[in-house]
């Protein structure tokens, strides 16, 4: 950025003034209070606006009030400047009380005010230079104290101040504090909050109190719970006492009701017993006749009567059965006599059983099979068939020929016949070709066509010759076949006709021969089979004869060998028939014996029935005798049948028992009459007293109550229940009294849980608040440290690089490099003369001043992001410097002006002249405020030509874009 012109309408002491700046260097010359600093401030106000107060900051104490025009009139200014890219802008700021406004005009363009507005303030400097006003002030707007050039402090202190200023600038801008200071303040706050370990700190106290209260509340809750338990126990005891009292009362009421009911029942009983006794006396008199009846044998007589009744019934049944079997018994005995006669009539023989029966059956089947085979006539049929075949063979004319020759003759006959036929055919064709060929040839020759005639004739000849050759060959084959046939079939006619017949006859003759051979074989087989069957039949006949002999029978004689088959069959049948008859007789004998044994058993059973009937009759008679003996003393009628005697005895015993029962009932009634021991009047009195007692206990004697206990055991139980309930109620009452007293004593001393809870809530709120504060402060510290490390870590190398680049050029390579400590911006320089880095407080004043200025520029570049070169506004920078040091710095500024415009104020014309002399006349301007003339004074007029001085190397500005991000 290059400032071109400042037009002041009114700003502090300046009014209606115009200032044109040099391209590189502008020297503002004037005495004190001439407006040099006002000019600098006006430039700043043009770039950043003017603070005019706000909430909590009165306007009359603001910058606006400070820079009000001294004389009345408009308050404002206009600054024209050019950016490095060539763009020219004019900023007009008006700070009038009633009208604060700003306008930014691009020269040659339009109004761009809105591009540079932040809130209500228009601040183009922030956008062009990339830094806010505070940083601009700290870096580019330097007063006398800015560089500490005239400070009398020791070098280390100066370096320390520089470091701190840098750190503050990097951490929070010129008006803030460093990150370290901020962290320190947070740590102080953290100290105020305290910690758990510091028991006197707010946090420690809160935590300790919270723990104490937790314990106290736990104890209090336990006590209150115990107290609540005691109260609950008291309530239970009260309920128990009430229930016990009610139970006792209920039991007493029930007892009284039962007792009253008992007295009522007793009265009724007494009245009933008297009536019953009278009735019983009358009945007893009616039964008095049986008072002495001997009822002692009642059980015996009844038992004997029962036994007699049963025995009589059994005897009657046995007799009936015996009578019923008399007729079957007679029939049975007759049958046994018949069987005995039959058995005696049968001949005596050895027993024949099933084995012989089975043998007879097997032998019959065997004889029948053998006889059937022996009777077959198949041999004769086969022989007749063979003869017939031989006759058929003879009819073919080939009867004498060996069948094997017939097989060989068949192909020879066929060959002879075929070859003859072919030969004859060839001759026929040959003749036709010869005739027709000759005729055609002749015809052609006759028509004058010689050559075709010759060709046709030759062709015909060739065909004739071929046919002739074929006919010769076939004739030879036929001749050889005939010769062989003549040898195999001697005497046979071998003419062509014979051969045709022979060819037709030969297959029939061959089959007839084959069949004849088959019939001969069958005849032989039939013959052998018949021989074997006869042998079998003879063996079977022998077996039949042997079986008859084994059965003890007389067997027929064996037929002679070679007898006819029919004879053999008759012999076998006779033997087997005799065996069958013997078997039948043996079976009949066994049947009769079995039937007789069964009839004998039944006869025995019938006899036992007769014996049983006799025994039952004897038993009944014995029982009758015993009954008569037993009832003899009763005085009953001796003529009665025994069973009627028993019935009469039982009836009399019944009367005797009734008499006894009536006597006992009478005694009981009389006893019941006597049992109460008191009379009805006494009973009534007792009942009245009990009713009154019941009323006293809340009961109603007139009330109908179900299930009243009236027996003595029940009343005793009720009495015990009432006593037990009374004792229980008394015990509960005693416990209630004790527990109630204890609870009453405890009530006043119980802790107030609400008080404790309140205290705990207060303490825990304080603890939580402190913990929250602690965490927030710790987080803030951590975040600041993190941010600080990050920013310092990135800025320090860039600052060092920026400074180093200019440093080498401006110091003539005496110092080649600057190092900036990352944490606290401690600066050290690398010197060509020394091996180690030189701390800033050890270098010369001049170098230190230069480094300080370079650092400020570097900060502007690093913190700003616009890429514009920043003009340096120096207010009396060399006010108290010694001449040599001042001269060095002026030279440095002159060189620095190549990259950054320099506006220097001074009241020293000599210094101004020196600086003008060091600069380029074309780019240097002098503003003399003392005369009010903007033209340079003659003494310090810029030289027309560069003064003679050492060549200056103009450093290139460092690369842009170093700002983070």
């Amino acid at each position: 950025m290059r400032l071109e012109r400042l037009e002041v309408t009114g700003f502090g002491r300046l009014r209606q003034r115009r200032f044109d700046f040099g391209e590189r260097i502008t020297v503002v010359l004037g005495p004190n209070e001439s407006g040099k600093s006002t000019l600098h401030r006006a430039i700043r106000a043009a770039l950043y606006g003017l603070e005019a107060g706000g909430p909590g900051h009165p306007r009359d104490r603001s910058d606006w009030a400070r820079w009000l025009p001294w004389s009345s009139g408009r308050f404002g200014l206009t600054l024209t400047y050019r950016l490095d890219g060539g763009q020219r802008l004019r900023v007009a700021q008006t700070f009038d009380r009633d009208r604060v406004q700003a306008q930014v005009q691009e020269l040659g363009g339009g109004d761009v005010t809105q591009q540079y507005r932040v809130g209500r303030t228009v601040c183009p400097g922030r956008f062009h230079l990339g830094v806010d006003e505070a940083v601009f002030c700290a870096a580019a707007w330097l007063g006398e104290e800015g560089l500490q050039l005239s400070s009398t402090e020791a070098a280390p202190q100066q370096a320390g101040h520089l470091r701190e200023a840098l750190e503050r600038l990097v951490d929070a801008g010129a008006e803030g504090t460093t990150a370290a200071e901020a962290t320190k303040k947070l740590a102080d706050a953290l100290q105020r909050v305290g910690s758990e370990r510091r028991v006197t700190s707010p946090l420690g106290v809160a935590i300790a109190q919270a723990r104490r209260l937790e314990g106290e509340i736990e104890v209090a809750e336990r006590r209150l719970a115990a107290f609540a338990g005691e109260e609950a126990r008291l309530r239970e005891l009260e309920v128990e006492a009430r229930l016990s009292a009610e139970t006792a009362l209920a039991a007493q009421r029930d007892w009284i009701r039962g007792r009253i009911a008992q007295l009522n029942a007793q009265e009724v009983e007494m009245r009933m017993a008297a009536g019953e006794a009278a009735e019983l006396s009358q009945a007893l008199e009616a039964e008095a006749a049986y008072a002495a009846f001997p009822a002692g044998n009642e059980a015996l007589v009844i038992a004997l009567g029962g036994e007699l009744n049963q025995a009589a019934r059994a005897a009657a049944e046995a007799e009936a059965r015996w009578t019923a079997v008399q007729e079957p018994l007679a029939a049975l005995r007759r049958r046994r006599a018949e069987i005995s006669a039959g058995l005696q009539a049968m001949p005596a023989s050895s027993p024949i059983g099933e084995r012989e029966t089975a043998a007879v059956s097997a032998l019959r089947r065997r004889v029948e099979v053998s006889a059937a085979i022996a009777h077959r006539d198949e041999e004769m049929a086969a022989t007749a068939r063979g003869e017939a075949l031989r006759r058929e063979i003879a009819v073919t004319g080939l009867g004498d020929v060996d069948p094997r020759e017939l097989e060989a003759a068949v192909p020879l006959v066929t060959r002879a016949r075929t070859a003859g036929g072919r030969a004859r055919g060839a001759l026929s064709v040959l003749a036709a070709v010869a005739v027709l060929g000759g005729a055609a040839t002749g015809a052609l020759a006759a028509t004058g066509r010689q050559w075709p005639a010759v060709l046709l004739g030759c062709g015909c000849l060739l065909v004739v010759a071929a046919l002739a050759s074929f006919a010769v060959v076939t004739f030879r084959i036929r001749s050889r076949a005939r010769s062989e046939l003549a040898a195999r079939l001697p005497g046979m006619d071998l003419s062509t006709a014979s051969l045709e017949r022979l060819e037709a006859t030969l297959p029939a003759a061959r089959s007839l021969h084959a069949e004849s051979r088959q019939q001969a074989t069958l005849v032989e087989v039939h013959r052998a089979e018949q021989m074997r069957a006869r042998g079998e039949l003879e063996a079977a006949v022998d077996s039949c004869l042997a079986l008859a002999r084994e059965a003890g029978l007389v067997a027929p004689a064996r037929p002679p060998a070679g007898c006819r088959v029919e004879v053999l069959l008759e012999t076998a049948d006779a033997a087997l028939t005799s065996v069958d008859e013997a078997v039948r007789l043996s079976a009949r004998h066994r049947e009769l014996e079995t039937e007789d044994a069964r009839l004998a058993d039944r006869e025995t059973q019938y006899a036992e029935m007769g014996q049983e009937a006799g025994r039952d009759r004897a038993t009944a008679r014995a029982l009758e005798g015993r009954i008569r003996i037993a009832t003899a003393a009763a005085g009953l009628d001796a003529g009665l049948p025994p069973l009627e005697v028993v019935a009469a005895f039982r009836d009399a015993c019944g009367h005797r028992h009734e008499y006894d029962r009536l006597a006992a009932a009478l005694a009981e009634a009389r006893r019941r009459q006597r049992l109460g021991g008191s009379d009805l009047e006494t009973l009534t009195h007792q009942r009245t007293e009990l009713a009154a007692d019941l009323r006293r206990r809340g009961g109603d004697p007139e009330e109908t109550v179900g299930d009243i206990t009236t027996d003595a055991a029940g009343l005793a139980r009720l009495e015990r229940e009432a006593m037990a309930a009374q004792e229980k109620a008394a015990t509960a009452a005693s416990a209630i009294q004790t527990l109630g007293a204890r609870i009453e004593g405890l009530t006043g001393s119980l802790p107030s849980l609400a008080d404790l809870e309140d205290e705990r809530l207060t303490v825990t709120a304080a603890r939580d608040r402190a913990l929250h504060q602690q965490e927030a402060l710790q987080r803030a510290i951590v975040m600041i440290e993190t941010a600080g490390r990050d920013v310092h870590g990135r800025l320090a190398p860039r600052l060092a690089a920026s400074v180093s680049e200019r440093l080498a050029l401006l110091t003539g390579d005496r110092y080649s490099e600057a190092n900036v400590d990352m944490d606290h911006f401690a600066i050290a320089l690398a010197s060509a003369d020394r091996d180690q880095l030189v701390p800033l407080d050890l270098v010369s004043h001049g170098t230190r001043d230069q480094v300080a200025l370079l650092l400020r520029l570097a900060l502007c570049e690093v913190l700003g992001d616009a890429g514009e070169s920043m003009p340096l506004l120096l207010d009396e920078p060399l006010a108290s410097a010694d001449p040599r040091r001042g001269r060095g710095l002026l030279e440095f500024l002159a060189q620095l002006a190549a990259t950054n415009q320099v506006v220097v104020t001074t009241s020293d014309p000599g210094l101004a002249a020196t600086l003008v002399g060091l600069g380029d006349p074309a780019s240097t301007a002098v503003i003399d405020l003392g005369t009010g003339d903007e033209e340079p004074s003659p003494d310090i007029a810029a030289p027309a030509a560069p003064v003679d001085r050492a060549p200056v190397r103009v450093p290139r500005p460092p690369a842009r874009g170093l700002r983070e991000g």
Binding site: G176, A182, L750, A780, I784, A787, R963
Partner: protein
């Protein structure tokens, strides 16, 4: 004959008051104030010739109420004889095992509604009060289910003569304040539908007398939170022979609560803060007995970054300065520094703001956001060079 009853609810005996900045002796005074409120209610009932007192729940806080409270209640109610006292337990004093309701030996004039659904109690000929008790601290059933207008199976039925009042602790869903628990929710329209002449309710701490909806919430007799300003007190309900109902609200509270908004614009120091807060408080509490007034002051507006206000110190200073019973201060101010502008700085402060804002954005819980917000505030105060004020 006209029947009068005094209705109150939500007394919350033995309630802690730490959240209102009361502790120690002050908290005990506040709890005693609740007991005094009940005594005054009894006196008011006798003055208005009431026949009964109805209490719709939250008479005490079950967790902290002890034998002393039981004794106090028994003696107080006994002293009101022959006036009847009808008790319908609520969610803070439910009928759980160990409840004071079950442990105390109530005098004969006290009737405790122990049923979980509305059950009748004939207060006078032709006048029946239906009441229920909560049996758990978080009951969410409809209190009007059952009772009048329902047969045994729960279906609605009509046909009862006389005047019927409902007494229960429940949340009328149409007017539930934000954040208030839903215990025993019901709709106001159901009161009329079921045939009740009036529902005497408790639960909401703000008074609501809505005879159109047949609904009465007396509110808590004394303020229990900063936003519970007066007037406060029980309600006298008058029922004429013809069934007409009139309600009159009484103002019996002795304690007061306020929330004061205190703009902090232009304040640059702790002293200035105390002065500003004191002035605002005095303005807001004009005419109130400060020794029985509890306040919450919300600091609002924008403040410079170097103004670090230690809230605890500020509370103490204001309390000492004006003599208010209890004060809580919440700092809701915003820093006048534009954070976005700061975050663009290349300085360490700018980097700190960026880090803090990034962590604030990433924070997923209100607690973490609160910590980071305070950390940012503390950091900026530290960078501004002022004292860090603990919030």
């Amino acid at each position: 004959m006209t029947y009068r009853l005094l209705h109150l609810a939500d007394l919350h005996l033995d309630r802690p008051f730490a959240q209102m900045g009361c502790h120690g002796e002050l908290a005990r005074r506040r709890r005693q104030g609740l007991r005094d409120a009940l005594l005054r209610a009894g006196e008011a009932a006798q003055e208005h010739d009431c026949d009964a007192v109805t209490i719709a729940g939250d008479l005490f806080e079950h967790e902290r109420a002890g034998a002393g409270t039981a004794q106090f209640l028994v003696e107080t109610f006994a002293a009101w004889q022959p006036m009847r006292v009808l008790l319908a337990p609520g969610n803070h004093d439910p009928l759980v095992p160990g409840s004071l309701y079950l442990r105390a030996r109530w005098p004969a004039n006290v009737h405790l509604f122990e049923g979980a659904s509305l059950e009748p109690f004939e207060l006078a000929a032709g006048l029946t009060v239906w009441g229920l008790g909560h049996h758990e601290p978080a009951w969410t059933g409809n209190p009007l289910e059952g009772g009048l207008g329902s047969d045994r199976s729960g279906r609605r039925a009509r046909g009862r003569d006389g005047i019927h009042l409902a007494l229960f602790h429940g949340a009328e869903t149409g007017s539930r304040p934000a954040g208030k628990g839903v215990h025993g929710p019901f709709a106001a329209a159901e009161i009329r539908e079921r045939g009740y002449a009036l529902a005497l309710c408790g639960h909401y701490h703000a008074r609501r007398i809505d005879l159109g909806a047949r609904l009465v919430y007396p509110g808590s007799p004394e303020p229990l939170a900063f936003d519970e300003s007066e007037p406060r007190g029980p309600v006298v309900v008058e029922i004429t022979e013809r069934g007409e109902i009139r309600c009159a609200a009484l103002e019996t509270n002795r304690w007061h609560a306020r929330i004061v908004q205190c703009p902090m614009d232009g304040v640059t120091s702790l002293t200035g803060t105390v002065d500003r807060v004191s002035a605002e408080v005095l303005t807001a509490t004009a005419g109130l007995p400060l020794e029985r007034t509890t306040l919450r002051v919300d600091l609002v507006g924008t403040v410079p970054p170097n103004l670090g206000v230690d809230l605890f110190d500020c509370e103490s200073a204001v309390r000492d300065a004006i003599g208010v019973a209890a004060i809580r201060i919440r700092d809701l101010t915003t820093n006048e520094t534009d954070l976005e502008t700061l975050a663009q700085e290349g300085t360490t402060r700018g980097a700190f703001v960026r880090v803090a804002l990034a962590e604030l954005t990433a924070a997923d819980s209100p607690a973490a956001k609160s910590v980071l917000s305070d950390a940012l505030r503390y950091g900026l105060e530290a960078f501004a060079g002022g004292e860090v004020g603990l919030r």
